[in-house]
Symmetry: C2
Subunit: 207 residues, 2 copies
Amino acid sequence: MSQNQILQSLIAENLVSDPNGARGRLLKEAARLFREKGYERTTVRDLAAAVGIQSGSLFHHFRTKEEILKAVMVETIGLNTALMQAAMEAADTPKDKLRALVRAELESINGQTGEAMAVLVFEWRSLSADSQADVLELRDIYEALWLDVLGALRDQGRLLAEPFVVRRMLTGALSWTVTWYRPERGGLTLDGLTDQVMAMLGFPATS
Amino acid sequence: MSQNQILQSLIAENLVSDPNGARGRLLKEAARLFREKGYERTTVRDLAAAVGIQSGSLFHHFRTKEEILKAVMVETIGLNTALMQAAMEAADTPKDKLRALVRAELESINGQTGEAMAVLVFEWRSLSADSQADVLELRDIYEALWLDVLGALRDQGRLLAEPFVVRRMLTGALSWTVTWYRPERGGLTLDGLTDQVMAMLGFPATS
DNA sequence: CAATACCAAGCAAGCGCTTGGTTTGTAAAC
DNA sequence: GTTTACAAACCAAGCGCTTGCTTGGTATTG
């Protein structure tokens, strides 16, 4: 399944809003603004202006501003869990699976859903405690994917550190790329960056 | 020189405010609040209450709220650059120097200056563009420390990835520990965590 | 002819910051 | 050793503005 096919099926299941619909367009703009200025600095007037409506009209679609932030996060996690699963199924060995996961996460962070991923990382504290708990539950699902693969590599003796520590280090390292990695201005492609991450972990590039 | 001696000499040079003085106490509380609630969610009334003065009185010490954030960052970078330099000078081989840097950064992030370090990472966007440029200049000084050491390891053939990529990955990975690493509740000590990071990079624990 | 989507207007609360005046610490002058 | 001088530190009050959100009404759509 291609990335677009996955997206389509999630839309069909109503797990992700259609980006052409009113709700989907708003969430996309919200992700952009939240990333650019941060949640707190983004006003409901900013959000409304971005989709061309009055600020009060927002509250027809969402009850509170926080609900918008939460929706961005929930949909992003849903989409990415599906993408990770698909990426992993296409690979055979644990090493290849790890590479697939790293590449998929880098793609999520630096690709089309990048804005939403950055929001997920940097605006976490702006969620209420209740919402944090809800979102955390969803995150655990795809963290398990990583731990399985890293555990297998550890059993093979090809990973010297603890899987759960490595996963957390990778979470930080890969998320952080959003602050510096700029594929458009020359140098490192996404595959090149993936190779660098693998090399850092002691897995030389295959090509 | 011990960590405390370094701090004392920086205070003497007026590069860091005395934490017993009014300004130093405010900056310490500011770091705590900024980390806990984020810069935007922290009001000048919160800051004032934390040190037991009226909100208006803050502006006798700082011209704007942003100046407080900037001061936290500038002083933190200054202190940490000194700590890193000291840690590195005590080590001989590139590998030992890398370990010293990793350990020192983990200590900064998770120790006494941890709150300020977290602010440095997560509240970056809340600085004005001008202030960002000022702070960035200071950061470059200690980034150079890392690149030197990583470059030496690369030359030795003990590092497969590019130094500048590894440094950026480590920045993310080590910063991220602030969100999950809790030394107090059992398990991993700071040295243990340092070992894990080194192991992840392909350097088995020495002990 | 509902239901959905929106607008225009504005409210109450909270924000960063200013103001004019008072207290406190310090050190020289008597 | 009390008095005088003065700046630094602080308070009490509140200004002007922005914030998230509400309200009552009007288009639009199936």
